[in-house]
């Protein structure tokens, strides 16, 4: 018992030191130790009801994170605007914070049975660039506390098929944040591109296109008419795009943050942006480079017509850390996503 107390004391001491060092390192205001100190939410914080001025949003095709559901919000400094970009992540003003809470419904078939919040990640645009912070929710769901070194938490939920799923949920450490949020070694957001934001959201006042809503609210400049904005399909909704478009979008959001010419996966020469046109660069009949066990006994990333011979599928389906892709923050296989990409490869001539 004494030993445990000593560990807890040690951790508490370290946390204080961590906050001080983080502040001195960045030159920006000290990060808060608790999520509640930011005042993002009103009432019971676990209800995730944003205060006025904080806007919820969602993406058409989100990154798979071990089946976690995500609540996304953006806080802008007063009287500032987001500048539209038709290709890349939109330009957020300095002072903007993207807020993302990861949670699991107890039963995916019956959301009313409640949920467990796991972590809330903040990505803040400071004068020195984007900074990431991770807050881990306590078991009582009353508070989330800053953690730089990551953690793991046992999780259990009932999935859409009524099966019980148990695994260790991984909270990333701050270096791992940069592992994905990285363009030319500069930390950047991944999700909020115009393509991904161009879709409906159920606001308190009714359903509306998110970009339209932002234009009306006067927080988005550079776009007059949503009809001019590109739109990413919803990966699992065939009415929103072709099989190829949906598979390429799924690959983009799950893989291209690394697998792009200016991302950490560039050493492989495999580029999975939906805009990539070169068949070899998207993996078609491309031999692996440094895949190691990830290549198994297979010769090419994608063999048209043959998902079972495609390294891409093999690595997406694996949960072995020496094989799987993405490398981080995944303990489960996104079966439906793998099936989508499988289907696309099978359809290739």
């Amino acid at each position: 018992m004494q030993r445990i107390i000593r560990i807890i004391t040690g951790i508490t001491l370290l946390l204080g030191l961590t906050i001080a060092l983080l502040a001195s390192r960045t030159g920006s205001p000290a990060p808060k130790e608790h999520l509640s100190e930011y005042g993002f939410f009103s009432g019971n914080m676990a209800d995730q009801t944003p205060v006025s001025g904080i806007m919820p949003y969602q993406l058409n095709t989100p990154l798979f994170s071990d089946y976690a559901e995500k609540l996304r919000f953006i806080q802008l400094p007063p009287d500032s605007v987001i500048t539209y970009d038709s290709v890349n992540v939109m330009h957020f003003p300095v002072g903007a914070t993207l807020i993302k809470t990861f949670y699991y419904p107890k039963d995916f078939r019956a959301p009313e049975k409640g949920r467990r919040l796991m972590e809330t990640r903040l990505l803040t645009h400071t004068a020195e660039g984007w900074k990431a912070l991770v807050y881990i929710w306590n078991d009582e769901q009353t508070e989330a506390t800053l953690e730089v070194a990551g953690d793991r938490k046992p999780v259990q939920f009932i999935d859409h098929h009524g099966r019980t799923v148990s695994f260790d949920y991984i909270v990333p450490n701050l270096n791992q944040c940069k592992g994905c949020h990285n363009t030319n070694e500069v930390m950047t957001p991944i999700g909020p591109t115009a393509r991904q934001m161009n879709g409906d959201f159920h606001y308190a006042g009714g359903t509306e296109n998110q970009l339209q809503h932002w234009i009306k609210a006067g927080i988005l400049s550079g776009l007059d008419d949503v009809a001019h904005a590109p739109r990413a399909p919803v990966w699992n909704d065939p009415t929103t795009g072709s099989l190829e478009a949906r598979a390429r979008t799924w690959l983009e959001i799950n893989c291209a943050h690394c697998h792009k010419p200016d991302g950490p996966g560039k050493t492989s020469g495999l580029f999975l942006l939906a805009s990539e046109k070169d068949p070899t660069k998207i993996g078609i009949n491309k031999p692996p480079v440094a895949a190691g066990r990830g290549a198994a006994d297979l010769q090419f990333d994608i063999v048209p017509g043959h998902p079972e011979k495609s390294i891409l599928i093999y690595r997406m389906a694996s949960t072995d850390p020496g094989i799987m892709m993405p490398e981080l923050s995944r303990k489960l296989t996104h079966k439906e996503g793998v099936e989508l990409v499988r289907e696309w490869i099978r359809s290739m001539k």
Binding site: R3, L14, L21, A149, T267, T280, P287, A291, A295
Partner: protein, 406 residues
């Protein structure tokens, strides 16, 4: 400083309460790496650290990670549940990792990416037990780095390359031991490398110099391999088949694949019973080439003053290259010490049909060396064992700037 004391407390605790402490020590080490100020020293006292996820260092300058010695400070990743390597360093400058051992990672041992100034000294990376394709791919794995020094390191059991430098510039690999890997030491798509005073033994292939297509850093070359002891590299290939090294025949001493400006000299190349030294084009991999900027031909290669011995046995390699030797070439037990596939780039030849002087493959002054040109581009019709055509010199100048790293 307080962190170190707490770390030590954690280390003591780990011995007594392993289950709690494992996660605790992981977090404490990771926290140290995240909070490290530029210029700081992270000391890892002697002991066995049981770790479950990748430790990572990102965006730092002049950080020294120092153990108490190889085999004294042991970072063990057996049963690793997260991360594709043991230790990862990225986007950094002047990083030194020394005096420690990394064991049994699920993926690569130590990966460093986009680091200018990376030194590994007295670092061991090993996969314990029988070498198997389940082992991680690379032991030490600097990629897209500059000023790389790998000194007095050991790599054992990698299912791809033990000491691997990829898409990097300005490299020295010296005084190292590579054993029981598929490739002992590999320099791939890298420029200006010196590999010397190493021992590569009981690997599938001892030292490989490769240029592959479809990569970001397109062109390697200006590589010198000298004063190495490259012996008994006859270990059966255990790489997962999809990898390029899976095609390397067991019994390879030195292999130069599609790289230009390579000089191999003063090495002992003993008892590598398939190919003491092989100089081949990328066509020999039988992979398709779609990269229009890629040159699949080796050129400006100079193999000289090496000492060769091989057992009087048949070619040891299996796979398609093994079949080629068995059925097409008919060397029996008189396998040449040095072979060249003989496939020429027509753009580089003169009126006689041979390479112009600046592109020539030169093989001279080796001790006990027999030779064959396989004429592989012509269905092996005119295999020639006459080395006279290659009696020339084509020395390579490297411009490595790597200092001692201490």
């Amino acid at each position: 400083m307080r962190i170190c004391i707490l770390l030590t407390l954690g280390a003591i605790t780990i011995c007594q309460t392993p289950i709690y402490a494992q996660q605790d020590i992981q977090k404490q080490l990771q926290r140290q790496l995240i909070m490290a100020e530029d210029g700081s020293v992270i000391e890892l006292p002697a002991g066995r650290y049981q770790l479950s996820s990748t430790l990572s260092l990102e965006g730092k300058k002049k950080v020294l990670i120092k153990g108490a010695g190889m085999d004294k400070t042991i970072l063990n990743f057996k049963g690793q549940s997260e991360g594709a390597e043991g230790l990862r360093v990225s986007n950094a400058q002047d990083i030194i990792i020394r005096d420690l051992t990394v064991q049994d990672t699920k993926g690569d041992g130590i990966k460093t990416m986009n680091v200018t100034g990376i030194t590994f000294k007295q670092v061991k990376v090993e996969w314990t037990g029988t070498p198997a394709k389940e082992n991680g791919a690379y032991g030490l794995y600097p990629v897209q780095c500059q000023q790389v020094l790998i000194d007095s390191c050991t790599a054992i059991g990698a299912s791809d390359a033990g000491l691997y430098v990829g898409q990097s510039k300005d490299i020295v690999v010296r005084n190292c031991l590579a054993k029981n890997n598929v490739a002992g030491i590999e320099i791939e798509n890298s420029l200006h490398a010196e590999v010397y005073d190493n021992e590569a033994t009981e690997n599938t292939g001892g030292i490989l110099v490769f240029d592959l297509p479809d990569l970001v850093q397109k062109k390697g070359g200006y590589v010198k391999v000298f004063n190495n002891n490259i012996h008994h590299n006859n270990f059966p290939n255990f790489a997962p088949k999809g990898n390029t090294v899976a095609k390397v025949p067991a019994g390879t001493g030195v292999m130069i694949l599609a790289t230009n400006h390579v000089e191999v000299f003063n090495n002992k190349i003993h008892y590598n019973n398939s190919a003491g030294t092989a100089i081949i084009s990328y066509f020999m991999t039988e992979n398709p080439i779609k990269d229009s900027t890629y040159t699949p031909y080796p050129a400006t290669v100079y193999i000289h003053d090496n000492d060769y011995i091989r057992d009087h046995v048949k070619f040891q390699g299996k796979g398609r290259i093994g079949l080629m030797f068995k059925f097409k070439l008919g060397f029996g037990k008189n396998v040449p010490h040095i072979f060249y596939d003989g496939i020429l780039n027509k753009d580089w030849t003169d009126a006689s049909g041979q390479y112009k002087p600046e592109y020539r493959i030169c093989i001279a002054d080796n001790k006990n060396a027999s030779f064959a040109n396989l004429d592989a581009g012509n269905k092996f019709k005119n295999v020639s064992r006459d080395a006279e055509l290659y009696n020339c010199s084509n020395p390579v100048t490297t411009t490595t700037t790597v200092k001692s790293g201490d």
